[in-house]
Subunit: 278 residues, 3 copies
């Protein structure tokens, strides 16, 4: 994907100001709302089974995040997700902590079974657990190679018939056929809670204004990673508090020339024997 397309997607988000309906965890609500506002989207949080269908159907995208799930919220996610599917609104899913408890893993799988999810975004361990592959990725945080993560994302995308975004040192974005790698981002993101959750909502904002969900995801990841790099540079040595604030600032500022200058996105080339080349 060329960088002008990414910048065009970003501009479209800012022009359209899409309404993003988030059913997310109680830790990140404020940061998610402020991040979406800075980007130029319009966040709404609504959780009650009594109203989520009404809210989902007026939204540009629906974001589901199981970070602090409970049975009522899961019920709301299913109602909202089915409504979004009915109205052709993209559903973005963040399986926070899948694998950490049986309840999370089973809920994540239930959501994938009952809802047509456009994008699933998580770290490799979460993606693997949603795909039911935990046995293959033991030590996912440690010994696995980048190639394993790419394999995991591609096979999960095929199995679950969705775009998969696996974030890590290098981000993998794939629909199972076409795969992109984004090398932008910064380690300090791991020192601020909710940066993964906000990214999932940012993917929602891009998906709300782009028909091509894979392109929307690649654009969102590149924009987000470039923003983090700029904010980290501006707050070098200050600490995670200052980074968090500057990151919110930069979400509103990052421009097409920043994307041009710093964007680091590559399409994965598959050779004829099925091997991969970068």
């Amino acid at each position: 994907m060329d960088k002008p397309m990414i910048s065009a997607s970003l501009q479209r988000v800012r022009d359209v100001n899409p309404l993003i309906h988030n059913i997310t965890n109680v830790v990140v609500t404020n940061f998610t709302a402020n991040g979406l506002l800075s980007l130029g989207a319009s966040p709404v949080m609504a959780y009650a089974p009594e109203e989520v269908a009404d809210m989902a159907k007026i939204a540009g995208a629906l974001v589901l995040n199981i970070g602090t799930l409970n049975p009522v919220v899961v019920e709301s996610m299913i109602i909202a997700g089915k409504t979004a599917n009915e109205y052709g609104i993209p559903v973005i899913f963040d399986p926070v902590g899948a694998g950490a408890t049986t309840y999370r893993t089973e809920t994540a799988q239930k959501i994938m079974n009952e809802i047509n999810v456009a994008v699933i975004r998580g770290n490799a361990a979460e993606i693997a657990n949603v795909a039911g592959k935990q046995s293959n990725i033991k030590g996912v945080e440690a010994g696995n190679t980048q190639g394993d993560f790419v394999e995991l994302a591609i096979s999960t995308a095929k199995k679950l018939n969705t775009v998969v975004v696996t974030t890590g040192k290098e981000d993998v974005i794939t629909d199972g056929d076409t795969t992109y790698l984004v090398a932008n981002g910064h380690p300090i993101l791991t020192k601020v809670t909710g940066t993964g959750c906000l990214l999932t909502s940012v993917i929602g904002a891009f998906a709300a204004v782009e028909k091509d969900i894979l392109q929307a995801s690649v654009s969102a990841l590149t924009y987000y990673g470039v923003t983090a790099e700029i904010a980290a540079r501006k707050t070098a040595e200050q600490g995670p508090g200052s980074f968090q604030i500057e990151f919110l600032n930069q979400l509103s500022k990052v421009s097409s020339s920043d994307i041009d200058q710093y964007g680091d996105v590559k399409k994965l080339q598959i050779d004829k024997k099925g091997g991969k080349q970068l």
Copy 2:
């Protein structure tokens, strides 16, 4: 209202340090608590039907906000509101998103029916929906004139027998008979989530220390708008993250001389034929 009265109200909040019981949405809890602390009030959040009556009756004001409502929280709002009414404690209501879903609109109207609300604070669309006037304000965000918003506020105040605060480019504060316009504030407030919700709680803090609820509301709006202007000036070009932090700083700093210098509040004059003049 003259500016010394506004400054006197502000000083009274800081001297009395009133306890403000908030039943508010999960997006803004932290920002609301920090904003009230900076102002000089004492925030408490309590949501369970098992305890809200006990909490409301020791508070200086009760703030109800339906931003992430659910049936249990609505039950708590009714219990707390009735308790506050019984003890003569002012109830301030923020009908977040009224009109966006049927559940919100009906809940907002239920609260107005069952509780004696001292002040209702929202944007024009929310106020209209609570008043059951949505048909008259189509395109409320776009084509309506300031005059329409003043009309809406005054007629709603009369109909619902409460002080109405409609925030927008210019804020309208009215009890149906006497109307004030406050022109302070800054557009960047719309880029930080919860600035409207916090304002509602700030009205609560002023209402906790002033018998005249209309005056308390005008004082709160002027103080809040002046604070936003100062914070926006100090963080010009930095972005919404820095504005949010400086706004929290300035809530603790804005002084009577700032109110004097920057306050922009006018009483609306009604001419003999019922027309309005500024």
Copy 3:
């Protein structure tokens, strides 16, 4: 306790990066998570009865906070607490608002009855209410002397068989036999919501890596108070917004030389007649 031991505890937290399971209130979730991340711990929030046992048993410590309690969350606290007890994982308890409502006081006492709590952290009024001593500390915020607070902490520790941490102008940390006083900290902490709650979670992080719970608590209090002093100095005159951000920065930066230079911790000497000397 000598300062090198405190610094060693801090280093151990940063090396081990313990998982801290928080069942806390909705006001402070984000600040708590960011504070723990800055310190170098790994926060997780999980609230549903369906999963809290699974989460508690993989954690290094469990933190219970009743700031916005409700019956389901209390049920989760009991399940998680019993699981933690079974697995030998320390439980740290913050009885926010005990005494303010009957529901809070009774819930706090129920938790103390049903769970083996390693540390209870609160202000003097909260500690007294949990201990059922409210009648003895009328005017706890006003007229009592430091000696009264020390007495209260020691007698509560003995009665409840736990480490008691009473925070105030000077912090008291005691297991009933041995008592420490920490004079670090800064008044601006009271202007940022959740600084007490985060401290409780920080005690959890230290307790996760130290067998001696009294030492872990003293180390946590000293580290936290020194951090606050440094952040307050760096943001003098700026206000509580800037302090909050700098405090998050400094949580990641405070070093053993800062502990050495600024730490103000004393062991309380009991003379032969049972009197106390500093």
